[in-house]
Amino acid sequence: MIELIWNALSWTLLLTGGFCLLVGGIGLLRLPDFFTRVHAAGVTDTMGAGAILVGLMLQAGLTQASIKLVLIILFMLFTSPTASHALAQAALHGGLKPRLGEQREDSRSNT
């Protein structure tokens, strides 16, 4: 019985993670600007990866694999915000400007 509950919990987490990965992928394709696409990548990195790895941890139980999964989650939680920050800063430094509300109307009238 307890095993069934744990299995259902891990399946739910795996499916939630897969759904968030799909949402992040669609956002990466559909969003209009680079700085909005960083947000889609953030959804993928935190919610998708976190939910799938925690779901795998529930399947593994208290074994060595679980410790490795905790290490992977820790590395991802440290590195993915750092990479996103460095990306946004490099894009700003490289001359990319975020699309703001007023600029959008201007660019529409111009193009």
């Binding site: 960083v38 993928t44 593994a60 490795k68 999964l69 993915s80 990306l87």
Partner: protein, 97 residues
Amino acid sequence: MFIAAAAAILVAMALAMIRVLLGPTVYDRILAVNVLGTKTVLIISVFGFLTERPDFLDIALVYALINFIGTIAILKFFEYGEAGFSNPEVTRDEERP
């Protein structure tokens, strides 16, 4: 259930790959490659559980580290035009007493 998660990861990887190929600026491509690396880590771990060989987690751990370092290195290259070692400002700072 592992198969469903693996299928979702593969579809999301295909979407990110389309963004890599389309991307208008180089930063879009770097972002999409970073996301692609994250999903590679995920699919390596899920595949390890799918085939009941948890040793794959070691590879996933190493891949997560390599992905981060590669992203930062490519970013630094594109931001400064080189990897930063022969930057004139840096050498000037080092020569300063």
